[in-house]
């Protein structure tokens, strides 16, 4: 390490954990406080804006404590500001956090992040026919989309209601043709259908496979149901049509 970098490491360490580390020698307390405040306030700004529901439900004191340990404990390697909220979600779901938190918090935060992420995902859909026959051809899923599969009904969590029991939930968060963010709740079967479509099967193949998996007594009827389901998903904007 170069000599001048010792100061930098000491400063960085203190900025991440001002309550448990000493400020670098030669740095006045008042001036150190400016940087401590700037660093923490700035990072909280990036996080707060993405997670309004999580923040409200946790309450200000607990939320700030969580932000504090995020800054201290999570390796923030990204230079891109938009990715800081994603790192916060990863911190909640991957890191062992000492603070007592609601069991649904990590999933709620992921759902809140999905709304923000979908708003700005930089994707251009490949060539497709929006009137194409989705039973016969490969189907294009909306690429400006995040699938949220969670144990908790995260989309219903709010100030007036929080779940006490798990309730497996499937949500598709996507950007519609007007560039507005929408979400739709789907069931486990539809989530499975979307995964199969995404793997490259045609609608017909998907529902034939499904009939087999379910040992369905009337595979033809399932095809009819499937056609309706795909049309409905296309009307909503989850599916865009057939690949050309």
């Amino acid at each position: 390490m170069l000599a001048f970098q010792q100061f930098q490491h000491a400063l960085a360490q203190h900025l991440r954990d001002p309550h448990h580390t000493r400020r670098p020698p030669g740095v006045p307390q008042r001036r150190m406080a400016v940087y401590n405040e700037l660093v923490f306030t700035n990072l909280c700004g990036f996080v707060d804006i993405c997670f309004p529901v999580s923040r409200q439900l946790l309450g200000e004191a607990r939320w700030r404590r969580l932000c504090r340990t995020f800054v201290r404990d999570w390796p923030l390697h990204t230079p891109w500001f938009r990715e800081i909220p994603r790192e916060f979600v990863r911190y909640l779901s991957e890191h062992t956090i000492a603070q007592a938190l609601p069991r649904w918090l990590a999933e709620l935060a992921h759902y809140e992040w999905a709304e923000l992420a979908v708003d700005v995902i930089d994707v251009t859909p490949p060539a497709h026919d929006c009137q194409g026959d989705m039973m016969q051809a490969r189907v294009l899923l909306n690429p400006a989309r995040v699938d949220v599969a969670s144990l908790w009904p995260v989309h219903r969590i709010g100030p007036t209601w929080q779940p006490r029991k798990t309730e497996p939930t499937f949500l598709v968060v996507f950007r519609d043709a007007q560039q507005e963010v929408q979400f739709t709740e789907i069931n486990a079967v539809t989530a499975h259908v979307l995964a199969l479509l995404d793997s490259g099967l045609t609608g017909q193949q998907v529902f034939a496979q499904l009939a087999q998996e379910m040992a369905h007594p009337d595979p033809e009827a399932l095809q009819g149901f499937g056609q309706q389901l795909l049309n409905s998903l296309r009307e909503q904007g989850v599916l865009l049509g057939t690949l050309t």
């Binding site: 400063l11 960085a12 030669g26 740095v27 230079p79 500001f81 700005v120 930089d122």
Partner: protein
């Protein structure tokens, strides 16, 4: 691509301003500035709106996360993505802060580099590497600081000069940062200005700041530019001696566009007063061996 005179005034591009700018970009605003860390890879409505502006107006790329003086490895992935972002939007000027913001992890705050010979060599090498990757000279900005790292072997203007000369890069002059530091550390901002390598200036920032209760100035970009800073800008123009694009930074408490535009128009007036005699014809690269000619994607003058 067209080139225009360097004596232009611009504004930091922000998402909050888009609706007002879509109603019409005021004549005083001749270019915009963006941070690649905010706008590279932006899709959706914001990305579409952004592109609509880069197709019509010149943009300057001003980085925040490169950590030129930081102990962590130079982020070459960030540099390559920045290069692609600039090419995609026809940007030809890139500037970064002469500071650091990451060790092995990011802190997202501009921190002071210790003023030592070793730090000069280290930082200059990284700037040179950044210039190699971007394929252009870059500007480095004198930063606002609140602490003076111990063990300084030179003054700050000496440090800035040594770095830009060793790296053979350009100076991005921020007059508000000089003013903030002069008040917080008790020096004469005009004397400080005079010691900077102003002959290498490629770009200028002007902004407002916040005064804390105990008198400490914080470089917030959250209020209007004060008179002593305007005077410093005027003095800088006289000393620089060649026209340079100048951007008004405003990141917090953002007023409406007409109010912001008044400050941008004031920059333009100071530019005109300083350079009306010297700016014809517009500076050409051949006329000045050090400076790049900032090419703008479209004639907007």
């Amino acid at each position: 691509m067209h080139s225009i005179a360097q004596a232009v005034a611009g504004l930091g591009f922000r998402r909050e301003l888009i609706p007002a700018l879509q109603q019409g970009v005021p004549d005083a605003v001749q270019f915009f500035e963006v941070a690649p860390e905010n706008w590279a890879g932006m899709g959706g409505r914001a990305g579409r709106d952004f592109r609509a502006f880069t197709e019509r107006f010149p943009f300057v790329c001003h980085g925040l996360s490169l950590s030129l003086g930081g102990p962590g490895p130079l982020d070459e992935i960030l540099l390559r993505r920045t290069k692609g972002f600039m090419r995609e939007h026809g940007m030809t000027l890139f500037t970064e802060h002469l500071s650091w913001c990451a060790d092995d992890r990011h802190l997202y705050e501009l921190l002071p580099i210790p003023l030592t010979e070793e730090a000069v060599r280290y930082t200059a090498e990284r700037i040179a590497r950044a210039q190699d990757i971007l394929g252009m000279r870059i500007g480095v900005e004198n930063a606002s600081t609140y602490i003076a790292p111990p063990g300084a072997e030179m003054t700050e203007p000496e440090f800035v000069r040594a770095v830009v000369e060793q790296a053979d890069c350009l100076l991005h002059l921020d007059v508000n940062n000089i003013y903030v530091n002069s008040q917080n550390f008790g020096f004469d901002p005009h004397a400080y200005l005079a010691q900077l390598p102003l002959e290498r200036t490629c770009y200028v920032h002007v902004a407002g700041h916040y005064v804390e209760e105990d008198g400490l100035l914080i470089d917030t970009h959250g209020s209007e530019v004060i008179d002593p800073v305007w005077q410093l800008l005027q003095a800088a123009y006289q000393r620089i001696g060649h026209p340079v694009p100048t951007c008004l930074e405003r990141d917090f408490n953002i007023p409406d566009l007409p109010t912001l535009t008044q400050e941008v128009a004031h920059i333009a007036r100071l530019q005109q007063a300083a350079w009306s005699r010297v700016s014809e014809p517009p500076l050409s690269p051949a006329a000045h061996p050090v400076l790049p000619h900032v090419a703008f994607p479209r004639q907007v003058a």
